[in-house]
């Protein structure tokens, strides 16, 4: 029996599958035929649990709960108030009081009646929690950034492969029609030969400070040690936990905040360039006053510019794709701007705001059932996250770096390579 390697994706396949992503109702497939390694769900219902659900997690969860094939059965959170709030939301939806609560998500993962988990902690926890969940046989929807270092992005993808789990990175813009359309214009040659992609990022900040120490709370109310998790020890301050002020700290955030938007926008550029599975090979911070501009270059010479300013007013998370015959720019308002009237002919009207993961979460749920590959699976996450981290390291060192996507190492720069990973505090070195 001879089996040939599958040919590359054709344009038709791209168009039909992306069209289906936006337009086709989810396929209902009896769960009795799905599952992996014996983990067949006991009914057609996907039994979902959550780890660390606060504001963003709640938005994501609210797009999952209304589906009739989802039952949210348990929440694990280091904060008692969040456990209570999420349980109330789930119980209200389920019409009972049976949503279980856990302080330590490891206990929750031991249950064999949970099919999938939604992970929306802070960046420090996303990869270790995802890996532990996958090892425990759960499928994973992880908010972005999914990994706090180059090394962890790779190891997370390896773990998903090894365990055969379904993984969706919470970069939902790939499932939203305006971004899909912009990518299609780039991929189908309507902009001519693509030469420059632009991705918006936050202004970068990388603090190594600690906030002043405060008395640690009762772990039953806020489990500080568990909140820190794999991050190195530091004294408690409630602002980290209660006010979201962990952002911008090296120990907790990803790539000096570059991945906050970059995980989305660079990922969209990867799709537009047809670069999933690889990364740019050069990263050069440019000297532009008032902006953190990083110029990345793919092996074929296409440029990818990361910048925070100078966009049309199309909303947050804008991207722009430029070819030698035209350009397209879009953002979270759903509106699309193009350079030529000829590019306007098929423009979709704005339908969904960029932050809403409605299509994206449904895609995940469908793949939990079908065992198919999600829109932003572990391999797509791996390359776009690694590219983001490489850009952030170039910005931190303030010098041009060369990167080898095949080894996921910088070329000829030991200091940059030493920034590829971080040690995890025990017992979280998964």
């Amino acid at each position: 029996m001879t089996l040939a390697k599958r040919k590359n994706q054709t344009r038709r396949r791209f168009l039909t599958t992306t069209a289906a992503a936006g337009a086709v109702a989810p396929t209902f497939i009896p769960a009795r035929v799905m599952g992996f390694g014996g983990a067949v769900p006991p009914s057609d219902m996907i039994r979902l649990a959550g780890i660390g659900i606060e504001s963003r997690g709640t938005t994501v969860l609210q797009t999952m709960l209304p589906h009739p094939d989802v039952r949210f059965v348990a929440i694990a959170d280091v904060r008692a108030d969040r456990r209570k709030a999420v349980k109330e939301m789930a119980d209200q939806r389920n019409g009972d009081t049976q949503c279980d609560t856990y302080r330590d998500f490891r206990e929750m993962l031991e249950r064999d009646d949970i099919d999938a988990v939604l992970i929306a902690t802070g960046d420090r926890w996303h990869a270790p929690a995802s890996m532990l969940a996958a090892e425990a046989g759960k499928d994973v929807y992880s908010e972005k950034p999914c990994a706090i270092s180059i090394d962890l992005a790779g190891r997370l993808a390896d773990t998903i492969h090894r365990t055969g789990r379904i993984f969706q990175c919470g970069t939902q813009r790939r499932s939203n029609s305006n971004f899909i359309h912009a990518i299609e214009l780039a991929r189908t040659g309507k902009l001519g030969n693509l030469h420059t992609l632009h991705a918006s990022i936050y202004s970068l900040r990388d603090s190594h400070d600690w906030l002043p120490a405060q008395p640690e709370p009762d772990p039953a109310v806020i489990d500080w040690d568990m909140w820190l998790g794999p991050a190195p020890w530091r004294p408690y301050n409630e602002a980290y936990v209660m006010k979201g002020q962990w952002r911008g700290y090296y120990d907790f955030d990803s790539g000096a905040r570059l991945l906050d938007w970059g995980a989305h926008t660079l990922d969209l550029c990867q799709a537009a360039a047809g670069a999933d599975g690889t990364t740019p090979v050069e990263y050069e911070p440019l000297d532009v006053a008032g902006d953190n501009v990083i110029q990345c270059t793919y092996a074929n010479g296409v440029k990818l510019i990361l910048r925070s300013t100078g966009w049309l007013g199309l909303g947050t998370c804008p991207v722009r794709f430029e070819g030698d015959e035209g350009w397209v720019e879009t953002g979270d308002t759903g509106r699309i701007a193009v350079s030529l009237d000829s590019l306007r002919a098929d423009l979709p009207a704005p339908t969904i705001r960029g932050g809403m993961p409605t299509n994206h979460t449904r895609n995940f749920l469908d793949c939990v059932k079908s065992r198919g590959r999600t829109t932003t699976n572990e391999d797509i996450m791996r390359s776009s996250h690694i590219a983001c981290h490489a850009a952030a390291i170039a910005w931190k060192l303030n010098r041009k770096l060369t990167f080898d996507p095949s080894t996921e190492m910088f070329v000829g720069d030991n200091e940059a390579n030493r920034m590829r990973s971080r040690a995890a505090r025990q017992p979280w070195a998964v």
Binding site: M1, L3, K5, R6, T10, L15, T16, T17, A19, A20, A23, V24, T27, F28, I29, P30, V33, M34, G35, F36, G37, G38, V40, D151, R162, G164, D206, S207, H208, W210, P232, W233, R234, G290, W311, L312, G313, L314, R335, A337, D341, R344, A345, L347, P348, A349, P350, S370, R371, G372, K396, L397, N398, R418, A423, A424, R425, Q426, P427, A429
Partner: protein, 619 residues
């Protein structure tokens, strides 16, 4: 006493220089050497914070001479992970040796720490000493040792794991097998597939749960690639459900075109398995699967049928079109909607002809299908019929036809469409008609569309003017801008209100001069402020040259009278720092109401303007 004070002063001076070197003081360039950082680590007076920061810096710049001081921190509950971060990163034998040596002196979590770090460094020399811990009485230590060997992933590590498999208990077996699978993955990455297969064989032979063995089989197929195909075929033909699914999942990951084999199996398996096979056939997209898929699309089992229809998206050709047209008009909404979306995406011209002929079908379901697909395919030739349908007495048909026209109408009929939408605003709903008009306008040539809207605006009833102004914003361009600015200048308060609001959302910077002008010429204070703020928004957010931005800021400051508006300009100057902007900001120091806001802004601009000298950031 004096001597102690002297030492303390010297130490503090040292700490200060080290902290400065760490970049903890704003914008200071790091100058600390690894030796000075080691001094901090060994000082009894240095705080936990100072030692932690020294470790962070040594992780990037430390060398072998830093290793002993770092290794001493491996017993420290607070600093162990900081020290490991550096030890994991520092190249060379010294770090490996320090971590290996630490095994003998550590226990509990700190020992587990070190085992993890050795795994990260993949220190093959540590295999022997770690293997001894596989038999540790402490379960957590034994598990950490197994994980560490898995990550090292050398043939020797594989041997040690393999030896333990035969001794594994029910509890330890799963942990050990998982470590083996990490090892298989590592071996495969190194091209040591033979070693990986040996380890896999040991898992197969061990007393382990079937689910673990299934995972191992999946992993070895991925590791072997083409050589794993016989095993994959075996799995496809197995009675075991989980193994069957494993085989399909492996096909996905290995990207193998197994269409002929999947088709051969298709008629021998249950409907549940047929659904899975159809999904795989859809992903593979090989048109040779079409006969199988077409037959399945007429199956009795609804799940099989649905998946077959979906598969036509990639394996279908012209011969599938009649079936899709039929299914697209069925009463099962989900199935029909799927068929229509496939019809919309397939690249066959014959579909357009078929749809056009069905637009006038007597059968309502067929007609609705045709309207929907005409819209999705943007069939311009459908417009004439759709205009007729849009005059229907039936609200549903009328609404569907107008929505379809939004996707199909051409420029020459845009005026008719605008009139129709305005007329239907009341009966079909404002929101629905606004969406339809936006959907049409965003597709049109920019200037032509703006001119049509401008013409309609002149004679539109008051209730429709707002709707038309909104479309001009969606369309953009010079004519649209001119029209909206004219509306803002008009004597009609409703138009003024709407137009000044919309100008505040303009997408391009060419609205700035008009907004500056409006800010001075409009008489209503509310609209003056709105125009001014619209102008500041443009300077803050939109794309333009630094010179253009400064020009807007200067002119805005010249006409702004309220401190809060001037503060917004300061924010722009802060966000886009430049030497010219600095001068503008410094001029605001003279304003007593702005001094407190201006001072920190000026400091920040100065820092940013001088940032070119920074060699590293945040390190």
């Amino acid at each position: 006493m004096a001597r102690i004070d002297h030492f303390r002063a010297l130490f503090l001076a040292l700490c200060f220089s080290v902290i400065a070197s760490l970049g903890l003081l704003a914008q200071d360039s790091p100058t600390g050497t690894p030796a000075s950082l080691v001094t901090v680590l060994t000082s009894p007076d240095a705080s936990v914070f100072e030692k932690a920061k020294a470790c962070e810096r040594l992780a990037i710049f430390g060398d072998e001479r830093s290793v002993p001081a770092l290794a001493d921190l491996l017993t420290d509950d607070k600093l162990s992970s900081y020290a490991r971060d550096a030890l994991e990163a520092i190249p060379g034998e010294a770090s490996d040796a320090a971590l290996r040596d630490a095994i003998a002196h550590l226990e509990g979590d700190r020992l587990i720490d070190v085992l993890a770090s050795i795994g990260v460094r993949r220190d093959a020399q540590a295999v022997g000493v770690i293997a001894a811990l596989l038999r540790s009485d402490d379960e957590a230590t034994a598990a950490a040792a197994a994980r560490s060997l898995g990550r090292i992933g050398s043939p020797q590590a594989a041997d040690e794991l393999q030896k333990m498999l035969s001794e594994a208990t029910a509890g330890s077996g799963i942990t050990l097998a998982n470590a083996c699978m990490v090892c298989i993955q590592q071996l495969a990455k190194q091209g040591r597939v033979k070693d990986a297969v040996t380890l896999y064989d040991a898992i197969e032979a061990a007393d382990l749960p079937a689910s673990i063995k299934s995972k191992a089989t999946y992993n070895i197929i991925l590791a072997q690639g083409d050589d794993g195909l016989p095993k994959l075929i075996e799995l496809l033909e197995t009675d075991d459900e989980s193994n069957f699914r494993l085989a399909l999942q492996a096909i996905r990951h290995l990207k193998i075109d197994a269409s002929p084999e999947l088709q051969a199996l298709f008629h021998t398996v249950s409907p549940e398995r047929q659904v899975l096979l159809l999904q795989s056939l859809e992903e593979l997209g090989n048109e040779t699967a079409l006969p199988t898929v077409m037959k399945a699309a007429q199956a009795e089992d609804s799940a099989v049928r649905m998946q077959a229809i979906r598969a036509l998206a990639t394996v279908g050709n012209e011969t599938a079109v009649p079936l899709l047209l039929e299914v697209g008009a069925e009463s099962d909404e989900e199935l029909a909607e799927t068929a229509r979306s496939i019809l919309a995406a397939l690249p066959f011209g014959g579909i357009d002809t078929a749809i056009l002929s069905r637009l006038t079908s007597d059968d309502i379901a067929t007609q609705q299908m045709a309207i929907d697909v005409a819209a999705q395919r943007r069939i311009a030739e459908a417009s004439a019929t759709l205009f007729q349908l849009a005059a229907s007495d039936d609200d549903t048909t009328r609404k569907e036809a107008i929505n379809a026209l939004a996707a199909t109408v051409r420029m020459e009929h845009l005026a008719d469409f605008i009139s129709m939408v305005m007329k239907e605003q009341r009966s079909l709903g404002d929101v629905a008609m606004r969406s339809a008009l936006t959907a049409a306008c965003v597709r049109m040539p920019q200037e032509g569309c703006a001119k049509k809207l401008t013409v309609e605006l002149a004679t539109a009833p008051p209730t429709a003017k707002k709707l038309l102004l909104e479309q001009l914003v969606s369309v953009g361009g010079a004519t649209a801008l001119e029209t909206v600015v004219s509306a803002a200048r008009s004597n009609d308060p409703t138009m003024q209100d709407e137009a000044t609001r919309l100008l505040g959302e303009w997408l391009t910077a060419d609205a700035a001069p008009a907004l500056l002008d409006l800010a001075t010429m409009l008489t209503e204070r509310k609209y003056q402020i709105r125009a001014l703020r619209g102008c500041i928004r443009i300077a803050r957010q939109l794309n333009m040259t630094p010179k253009e931005r400064m020009d807007i800021c200067r002119k805005t400051l010249a006409i702004a009278s309220r401190p809060e508006d001037k503060a917004l300009v300061l924010d722009v100057l802060k966000r886009h720092p430049s030497r010219e902007g600095l001068q503008l900001a410094e001029a605001l120091l003279e304003d007593p109401e702005l001094r407190a806001t201006a001072q920190p802004a000026i400091r920040l601009i100065k820092e940013k303007v001088g940032e070119a000298s920074v060699t590293e950031r945040g390190l």
